[in-house]
C-alpha cells in the first residue's frame, strides 16, 4: 500500500514511504547562537531525514521536525551537543510499520 514504485535516490522521496502522525510542536530545539558559530554544521548532512537545513540569508537553522525519524543522531552528533532533544509527544511522530 505504502509502496513507492522503484527505490528513489533522494531522501525527500524516500521519506514518502514513512508514516507520521503530526505533532503540534517541535521536539527539536537547536541553540541558535551555537548554530551560528558552528563551522561544519554536521547535522545538515548526517541527519537521515534531512531535518536540518541551513538558511544562509536568514542566518538560521531551519528545522523540519515533521520528517524526524527520532533516531537521536543530532542529539549526539551536534558539534556543541546543544540541540534540546525530546521525544515527540506520546503517540505522535513516526510509526515504523516495517522496522
Amino acid at each position: 500500500m505504502s509502496n513507492i514504485k522503484g527505490v528513489p535516490q533522494n531522501v525527500e522521496d524516500k521519506l514518502f514511504s514513512v508514516k507520521y502522525k503530526p505533532c503540534e510542536k517541535s521536539h527539536l530545539q537547536p541553540t541558535p547562537s551555537d548554530c551560528a558559530r558552528c563551522k561544519t554544521k554536521p547535522c545538515t548532512t548526517f541527519c537521515p531525514a534531512k531535518v536540518y537545513v541551513w538558511d544562509e540569508e536568514g542566518n538560521q537553522l531551519l528545522v523540519g521536525y515533521e520528517n524526524c525519524l527520532e533516531c537521536g543522531a543530532c542529539r549526539i552528533g551536534c558539534t556543541y551537543q546543544s540541540i534540546k532533544w525530546e521525544y515527540p509527544e506520546g503517540g505522535c511522530g513516526v510509526t515504523f510499520k516495517n522496522g
Binding site: 514513512v18 533516531c71 543522531a73 532533544w85 509527544e89 510509526t95 515504523f96 510499520k97
Partner: protein
C-alpha cells in the same frame, strides 16, 4: 495504620517498566507470569512502532521467554545461510556458510521478523500473562525519594512501584537524567539506516537461492564504506528484503557524508544491485545502534532500579546482536525483581544480583570479550577496513583471471605491489595489532 495507608496508595504496581521494546516486554512477560503487577509505559502507538533493527531475532534466547513462539509468532524466514561479502570499489568476494538444519525443529538459529508485527506479538503475550501496557505515553521523569527510585512521571500521571526497569532504548534520556552515564559520544553509536524493499516471493527465492521458508543474512563490508567504520547488511523476509548500513556517527560527522548516499551507493554496487533490481521501496527508516559496548555501559542498577537492553548499551557490536541481549537482560532484571519482591528489599545491595546474573551470562562476557575490537578498528579503519579488503579483492582478481602470464610472476607482482603501497614496518605493525586483537578475544 496511617503508615500502611500511605504505602498502599503508592503501591500502584510491583514493577514499572519504561519502554515496550524487546528488553521491557521480556521483563514484563516474566514478571507477569510470576504473578507480579507490572506496568509498561511505551511512547509509540503500539510496542514496536518506534523500533528498527537489521532483521533477525534469535531462536534460543527467544524461547527462554516465549517458549511457543515458533508456532505462534509472526515470523518471516528461518535463516539457514550467512554470507560475508567483502566489497571492493566494483568487485567483491563473498564467503557463505549454509546449513539447512537451521530450519528444522529444535535446530533453528535465527528468524527474520518485521518489528512492528513481532514486537506487537510479544506485547500481546505480556498482556496475556497479565501485564498492563500503556501506549502513547512518555515517561518524562524518574521520581526519587530518599535517594531511591520510587516511580515515574508521565505528562499526566505518576506511577509508583518499588522497582523500575529502565528500558528506554539507545537514546535513554532517563539514565542520563539519573546521572548514570555521561552524554553519549558520536563514536559510541552507529547510525543505522534501512530500506525495506518489496520483491515477489519467487524473485527473492530465485535470487537468493532459497525455498519457501529459508532465509539468508548478508554481512557486508567495504564497497562505499571502504576505509570507514561501517557495515552493511541484507536480510530476506517473506516478500521483501531489508537492506541497510550502520556507520559510526563520528565517521559521518568527520567525513561530512550523507548516510542515505552510502546506502544508495551500496545498492548500486555490482555485487548487490542484481539482488534488489525492480524492487519497490516499502519503508525507509533510521535508528541509532549503541556500539560503545563494555567501555560505555552506564551504571546499570541502584536503589529501586535496573537498566536493560539498548539503554544499558547491551549490543554485541561485532556480531551485531542486540535483540537477544535486550531480551535476556530484561529477563534477568525481571528475575532479580522477583527475588527483591520476595525479600521486600529493593536496595542497590539486593539488586546487585542483576549484575551478578549478567556477569554469569553471555551478555557481559561477550561485551568484555569484544571490548577492544571497535576501538582498534576505529584507529586503524583505513588499513583494516580499507587497504586490506581492497587487497583481498585484488588477490582474488589476480588468482581467478586467466591471462597467459605465468602464475609465479603474478604472485610476485602482487606481493611487490603490497609493499609498494604499504611499507614492511607498517604491515608488521598491523599484523601485531591483529594478533593482539585476536589474543584479546580468545585469551584475555
Amino acid at each position: 495504620m496511617v503508615q500502611k495507608e500511605i504505602v498502599l496508595q503508592k503501591q500502584m504496581a510491583d514493577v514499572i517498566i519504561v519502554g515496550g521494546g524487546p528488553a521491557g516486554i521480556s521483563a514484563a512477560t516474566i514478571l507477569a507470569r510470576a504473578g507480579k503487577k507490572v506496568v509498561v509505559i511505551e511512547r509509540g502507538n503500539f510496542a514496536g512502532s518506534k523500533n528498527v533493527f537489521g532483521g533477525a531475532i534469535y531462536a534460543k534466547p527467544t524461547a527462554e521467554i516465549f517458549p511457543n513462539f515458533e508456532e505462534e509468532a509472526p515470523l518471516e524466514r528461518c535463516n539457514t545461510e550467512h554470507r560475508y561479502a567483502l566489497l571492493g570499489e566494483d568487485d567483491g568476494t563473498v564467503i557463505s556458510y549454509k546449513n539447512p538444519i537451521h530450519c528444522q525443529k529444535g535446530e533453528t538459529n535465527s528468524y527474520t521478523v518485521i518489528r512492528a508485527k513481532w514486537d506487537r506479538w510479544c506485547a500481546e503475550q505480556a498482556k496475556k500473562e497479565g501485564a498492563y501496557i500503556v501506549t502513547e505515553t512518555i515517561v518524562r521523569e524518574i521520581i526519587i525519594k530518599e535517594s531511591k527510585v520510587v516511580g515515574i512521571k508521565t505528562d499526566l500521571e505518576e506511577f509508583y512501584a518499588p522497582i523500575t526497569i529502565i528500558a528506554d532504548g539507545v537514546n535513554s534520556l532517563l539514565t542520563k537524567q539519573l546521572g548514570l552515564r555521561k552524554e553519549t559520544q558520536p563514536k559510541e553509536v552507529a547510525l543505522g539506516i534501512k530500506e525495506v524493499i518489496t520483491l515477489s516471493k519467487e524473485k527473492i527465492q530465485d535470487r537468493f537461492n532459497l525455498d519457501d521458508k529459508t532465509g539468508v543474512i548478508y554481512t557486508i563490508a567495504g564497497g562505499p564504506m571502504l576505509g570507514m567504520l561501517g557495515l552493511g547488511y541484507i536480510y530476506t523476509n517473506q516478500e521483501s528484503i531489508s537492506i541497510g548500513v550502520g556507520v559510526s556517527l563520528e565517521e559521518l560527522q568527520k567525513r561530512n557524508i550523507k548516510p542515505y548516499e552510502i546506502l544508495n551507493e551500496l545498492k548500486e554496487h555490482p555485487s548487490i544491485a542484481p539482488l534488489i533490481k525492480d524492487g519497490d521501496l516499502k519503508e525507509y527508516s533510521a535508528h541509532l545502534i549503541p556500539e560503545g559496548g563494555y567501555n560505555s555501559m552506564p551504571k546499570i542498577l541502584g536503589n529501586g532500579f535496573m537498566v536493560a537492553g539498548d539503554a544499558a548499551m547491551f549490543v554485541n557490536n561485532v556480531h551485531w546482536e542486540g535483540t537477544n541481549l535486550a531480551m535476556l537482560s530484561g529477563k534477568l532484571a525481571a528475575e532479580t525483581a522477583i527475588v527483591a519482591l520476595e525479600q521486600n528489599d529493593f536496595s542497590e545491595h539486593t539488586l546487585e544480583l542483576y549484575k551478578k546474573k549478567l556477569k554469569h551470562s553471555f551478555i557481559l562476557k561477550d561485551l568484555k570479550t569484544y571490548r577492544n575490537v571497535i576501538p582498534t578498528l576505529e584507529h586503524n579503519a583505513s588499513a583494516f577496513l580499507g587497504f586490506y579488503p581492497k587487497k583481498i579483492n585484488e588477490f582474488m582478481e589476480m588468482f581467478t583471471s586467466v591471462d597467459s602470464i605465468p602464475k609465479r610472476q603474478k604472485y610476485r607482482t602482487f606481493i611487490k605491489n603490497i609493499f609498494k603501497e604499504r611499507n614492511l614496518f607498517k604491515i608488521a605493525l598491523d599484523m601485531l595489532k591483529l594478533l593482539k586483537l585476536v589474543w584479546g578475544v580468545i585469551v584475555r
